[in-house]
């Protein structure tokens, strides 16, 4: 086991009393609580984490946060998770991980952890708990406003955590404590705001138990998506340091200067022993001094500015650090790790031995969320960075995210943003704001440099995608002038890090190659998510049985106990069939069909949509929406109806029950219930607001039991002794309110099977009692429960279409052979005008017909196409395109017919009755004969029992 030889003797925000064992790439190591996997690896002298995806080059830890382009790892235990950055994986006991060359592996095991999401609202959302964010939150929270602060790190402090600003960090800690104890404030650490949408809707992901490893409590969700709706948003998202393109800039040991500073200060880790520093700006000097004080030897500082740094130059001289103004890096030597750096400048070149090369090419304000929100960015030439430049949303940017890099400036700007936001949200901000004193170094301007002289094929721009300057030159050489095109052509900026370090550098390199201004060129578009978000988190609790709501009827428990198999109909679970011991579906359905045709059977029809239509103009509304006349329906009677859309195509069908002069109960198909109600409301509210009608859904007020078969009247009579059930007293298509088994019931004589049948409607609460009573009373008659499959067979035998199965939005009532349902008397109704279209009178429109396979045994698959005899005169299908006549829409075995049959939509079908056509099934051509769509009891003799 390694001994953390790169750990400093003291310091850092790690807990040295709590060592942690972990394994990386097969070797065992120790680290401390507070480490990331990256800091612990560096402490053990491991800097290379993988080899690159395209060129197989060694790659090492490059950054210290979410911007890391290189150090992708796969966590293997306790639960496998791919594509994490070592710089953001908190170390925990028992962590097993390995380095990844660009691609990870999903676990084949189900993830046992919980994931969830929460909606939350606030007056002010602060993204980032660094100095600017905390200053903003402190002001806002004091007013009593509801404030949410999110920060991706495990503890608040932001950039302060990587510095030696102890007094400001103490202030930060006290602010955080105050925020935590404020009941109107949520301070969410380990939480990344990853998407910013319209109306200040921000998504964030909180990693709640990942850092606990195997000790994570099972009841807590592992990750949580916060859906935040904020009146005002303050983005204090800081800045990312950017690298430079130079020869060998991808060798492990090349690291961002600010990252090295973070490793030393926050984690007590030395990223190397002897460093060379390459910089375009003053910020790298702070790293120089922090590393120096921690014991790292600074071999040289190459400052690309010809004048170097007026502030830091003399201080370096005092400490004996050599600063080479106007120098850059000509090359880096080293196979798996930097061993020497070749510096070149006005006075020639020299090789410097080093195991670490720190780079600072300037700082990019993190503008991703601001861009998601619709904010514009502009290039600030003094800063050498893109900065926010206006947004349509109620958002402010503060601190380094706005290009304000000095600590005092960040604090003041944050406090001002907090004050402004909270006052805009209607609160009164405190008169004065106490901010800690902070040193602020006067900074000299950043040099705008992107590429150093050298071999472009060895100068990396996107380390994860292995994109070099040479490749970008190929893109611009091919004529590309937009960074968006260059991005797509080279893949620069498309990796897991979405170009956090490489994006602006790519723009800079393109500008350099084209000789244009980088500000004119702009950046590529930022899109959510800001950092990768696991699909498990996005799915949350909407998985397994909760993935989609399961709607059930009041009888569902009975069906389950009866061993029914279920069919999904929309969100409903409907009994499909009820197999008896040893029965397959075929046998069960034949048995259920026989019972309905020969004895008595019952079905749960509660899923039918039901709408109460009330008002003096109710009949007018229904006349306008159905193709047939409803106003002539007598109270106590029932009529079947079809609705068409304005294009004349069938939209839904069902029955209309007239309860009173001004009141109807309309039923719809199971799947059409919501659409029909919306259709009615739409017309009432937009086209005919003058109609005095109200529509109310009562789908679940009423449960419906279908009682079907020649013996159904006898069963009903035993249960409803006071009801006159003879055909004359209770004719077809009428209804009666009565008691069935002592339960108030509306009995409707409706048949969807052609048999004598009743629909018994009771309160949803009474459904089970009624069902059981019918079932019990039916025993002497051999009553049989049946499901949707038998229902389909029975109705298909009668040629009753199912809207949505036998129709597809291109079928008129006339196509269904239902010319009789289209009123010739009504002045108008929805769809009427379209029936006059020439196309609706084409003789070769597809029409609903029946099909009988000639062999009497073949069950045609639904959807199979049909071809004319002349098309297959040679005994085989011709070369495509094959002229098709139509297709099978429904197909079943029929107990009543003793053979399989089908319904089909066939061109000019009704004129082809008696014609033999062919269904190509595999290599065979199955001969079938076209028949009327009504195959059973065409004279309707069975309807009255």
């Amino acid at each position: 086991m390694s001994t953390q030889e790169f750990r400093t003797a003291q310091g850092g925000r790690i807990d040295r009393s709590r060592p942690i064992r972990f394994r990386f790439d097969g070797s065992d190591y120790t680290g401390y609580v507070g480490d990331t996997l990256a800091s612990a690896l560096l402490a053990n002298g491991v800097i290379q984490t993988s080899t690159s995806i395209k060129f197989d080059r060694p790659r090492g830890i490059f950054a210290a946060g979410a911007e890391e382009p290189n150090a992708l790892v796969q966590v293997e235990a306790p639960f496998p998770e791919p594509m994490l950055t070592a710089t953001t994986v908190e170390l925990y006991d028992g962590l097993v991980a390995c380095g990844l060359g660009g691609q990870g592996r999903l676990s084949p095991e189900p993830d046992p952890a919980r994931y969830d999401s929460v909606h939350v609202h606030c007056d002010v959302l602060v993204v980032g708990a660094g100095p600017a964010g905390l200053a903003a939150a402190a002001v806002a929270a004091e007013t009593g406003a509801r404030v949410i602060v999110v920060d991706e790190r495990p503890e608040p402090g932001g950039s302060l955590l990587g510095t030696r600003e102890t007094s400001v960090l103490e202030w930060a800690t006290s602010v955080a404590d105050r925020l935590r104890s404020n009941p109107e404030v949520k301070l969410l650490t380990r939480t990344t705001a990853f998407g910013y949408y319209d109306d200040n809707f921000v998504l964030a992901v909180e990693r709640r138990t990942n850092h606990l490893g195997a000790a994570a409590p099972a009841h807590r969700s592992r990750e949580r998506i916060w859906r935040i709706r904020a009146r005002r948003v303050i983005l204090a998202t800081g800045a990312h340091e950017r690298p430079l393109a130079f020869n060998g800039n991808d060798i492990p040991g090349v690291m961002l200067a600010g990252a090295a500073r973070t490793y030393v200060n926050r984690y007590g880790v030395l990223p190397g022993r002897r460093a060379v520093v390459l910089t375009t700006n003053d910020s790298a000097y702070e790293a120089v001094f922090d590393l120096l004080d921690a014991g790292v030897e600074i071999a040289a500082v190459a400052d690309l500015r010809t004048g170097g740094s007026p502030v830091w130059g003399p201080r370096c001289a005092e400490r004996g650090v050599e600063v080479l103004a106007g120098y850059g890096v000509a090359d880096v030597t080293g196979a798996d790790r930097v061993s020497a750096v070749t510096l070149a400048g006005p006075d020639g070149s020299r090789d410097v031995a080093a195991d670490l090369l720190l780079v600072s090419g300037g700082w990019n304000p993190v503008g991703a969320l601001y861009s998601h929100a619709g904010g514009r960015l502009r290039f600030d030439t003094d800063l050498g960075s893109f900065v926010p430049d206006g947004c349509r949303q109620a958002v402010a940017v503060a601190g380094a995210a706005k290009g304000t890099f000095g600590l005092a400036g960040c604090l003041a700007e944050g406090a001002a943003a907090g004050r402004e936001a909270v006052e805009a949200a209607g609160f009164t901000a405190p008169a004065d704001t106490r901010l800690p004193a902070a040193d602020e170094q006067p900074a000299s301007p950043t040099a705008q440099v992107w590429v150093l002289p050298g071999d472009e094929s060895r100068q990396y721009v996107d380390l994860q995608r292995d994109v070099t300057v040479a490749e970008i030159r190929r893109a611009t050489g091919a004529g590309m002038r937009s960074v968006e095109h260059v991005k797509r052509y080279t893949t620069a900026g498309t990796a897991h890090d979405q170009g956090k370090t490489s994006g602006v550098l790519t723009s800079g390199v393109v500008a350099h190659l084209l000789g244009v201004d980088v500000g004119e060129l702009g950046t590529t578009t930022f899109r959510p998510p800001y950092t990768p978000v696991s699909f498990a988190a996005l799915a949350g609790r909407d998985r397994g049985m909760l993935y989609d709501p399961v709607r059930v009827t009041a009888l569902h428990p009975w069906h389950e106990a009866a061993g029914a198999l279920f069919e999904n109909v929309g969100q409903w679970k409907r009994p499909w069939y009820y197999p008896r011991d040893g029965e397959d579906m075929h046998a069960a359905v034949l048995r259920e069909c026989r019972a309905a045709r020969e004895g008595v059977a019952m079905m749960d029809a509660s899923t039918l949509g039901k709408i109460d239509v009330q008002g003096p103009d109710a009949a007018v509304l229904l006349d306008r929406l159905y193709t047939n006349m409803m106003s002539t329906l007598k109270v106590g009677s029932i009529r079947y109806g079809v609705m068409c859309r304005a294009d004349g195509m069938v939209f839904d069908d069902g029955t209309v029950i007239r309860l009173a002069e001004d009141r109807f109960l309309v039923t719809t198909t199971t799947g059409g219930a919501a659409a029909v109600l919306e259709w009615m409301e739409d017309f009432l509210q937009t086209e005919w607001p003058d109609l005095r009608v109200h529509c109310t859904s009562v789908t679940e007020q009423w449960a419906t039991v279908a009682l079907v078969g020649p013996r159904s009247r006898e069963v009903l009579a035993t249960l409803a002794p006071t009801l006159a059930v003879d055909n004359a007293s209770f004719p077809f298509m009428t209804w009666r309110d009565t008691e069935v088994a002592g339960i108030p019931t509306r009995v409707c004589r409706i048949s969807f099977s052609g048999e004598l049948a009743y629909e018994l409607n009771v309160s949803w609460w009474d459904a089970l009692a009624l069902w059981q009573a019918v079932y019990d009373a039916g025993q002497p008659f051999g009553i049989t429960t049946y499901g949707t499959e038998t229902m389909h067979v029975l109705r298909a035998e009668k040629g009753f279409p199912i809207i949505g199965q036998d129709t597809d939005g291109t079928v008129t009532p006339q196509d269904l052979g239902m010319d009789w349902i289209v009123s010739k008397k009504k002045a108008d109704f929805v769809g009427k005008r379209s029936f006059a279209r020439a196309d609706n009178h084409r003789p070769d429109r597809k029409q609903l017909v029946g099909l009988l396979p000639d062999d009497g045994t073949t069950l045609l698959p639904e959807g199979v196409h049909l071809v004319a005899a002349e098309t297959v005169a040679t005994g085989a299908l011709p070369e495509p395109p094959v002229p098709m006549l139509g297709h099978v829409t429904s197909s079943y075995h029929s107990a009543a017919l003793g053979r399989p049959f089908a319904l089909a939509l066939i061109r000019g079908g009704r004129g082809r009755i008696g014609e033999r056509v062919y269904a190509p099934l595999g290599d065979a051509l199955v001969p079938v004969t076209i028949t009327s769509s009504v195959l059973y009891d065409p004279e309707g003799a069975r309807r009255d029992g």
Binding site: D116, V118, V550, R551, D662, T696, Q701, S763
Partner: protein, 204 residues
């Protein structure tokens, strides 16, 4: 076929009768953080009428409180709750068994015009949620701002909880009524029980 002896009610049954025990267990499992119970068989009438017409005044007199005309308000009158569902639509909720009487009273009070009164007592069932974490529980699946500053006693909304359409009413003592379509009740009960797992262990 299996014997039909397990399920044999002779009386009416509420949509969540079979979930009652599992719902009741939530309070103990969460240490009282949330409690969930079905309030079955409440009378519910859907009322549609012109809020500016005489029927509105008549309804108010009959119910004992003016029909709320502001969006998102549920008025109370004794045992009755009148929830605003839309500019011309209310849900009147009353004690179990009262729907027949209430419907008759309203029908005769409202007179002609064209008010619509529809018994929807069985259309939705009522879940009562209470306990100190009830708002947090609802926030797992409801996008509305349920903070007491914006959704306090007497507030109501037609909204979505998880993937179910609900009517949400803030009641006294920080409790909520969730009215859910009977066919979705079992899904929503499962969802609520699953959501409450977060509160079953030590809270961070």
């Amino acid at each position: 076929m299996a014997e039909q002896t397990t399920v044999r009610p002779t009386v009416r049954r509420s949509p969540l009768a079979l979930a009652a025990d599992r719902l009741a267990d939530v309070a103990a499992a969460t240490g009282g953080a949330v409690s969930i119970a079905e309030v079955p068989f409440l009378a519910q009438l859907n009322l549609r009428l012109d809020p500016k017409g005489p029927a509105a005044d008549a309804a108010g007199k009959e119910l004992g409180v003016a029909l709320p005309t502001a969006a998102g308000v549920a008025a109370r009158a004794g045992e009755l709750t009148i929830a605003w569902l839309g500019p011309d639509e209310w849900l009147v909720i009353g004690p179990a068994g009262g729907e027949g009487d209430l419907e008759a009273r309203l029908r005769s009070a409202l007179g002609t015009g064209h008010p619509a009164v529809v018994d929807v007592s069985a259309q939705r069932t009522v879940l009562e949620l209470s306990g100190p974490r009830v708002r947090d529980l609802l926030a797992f699946g409801c996008a509305l701002d349920l903070h007491p500053r914006s959704f306090s006693e007497g507030a109501c909304a037609q909204t979505r909880l998880a993937q179910a359409q609900v009517v949400l009413i803030a009641r006294e003592s920080g409790a909520f009524w969730v009215l859910v379509r009977s066919s979705f009740a079992s899904y929503l009960a499962d969802w609520l029980i699953d959501a409450s797992v977060e509160f079953t262990g030590p809270q961070a």
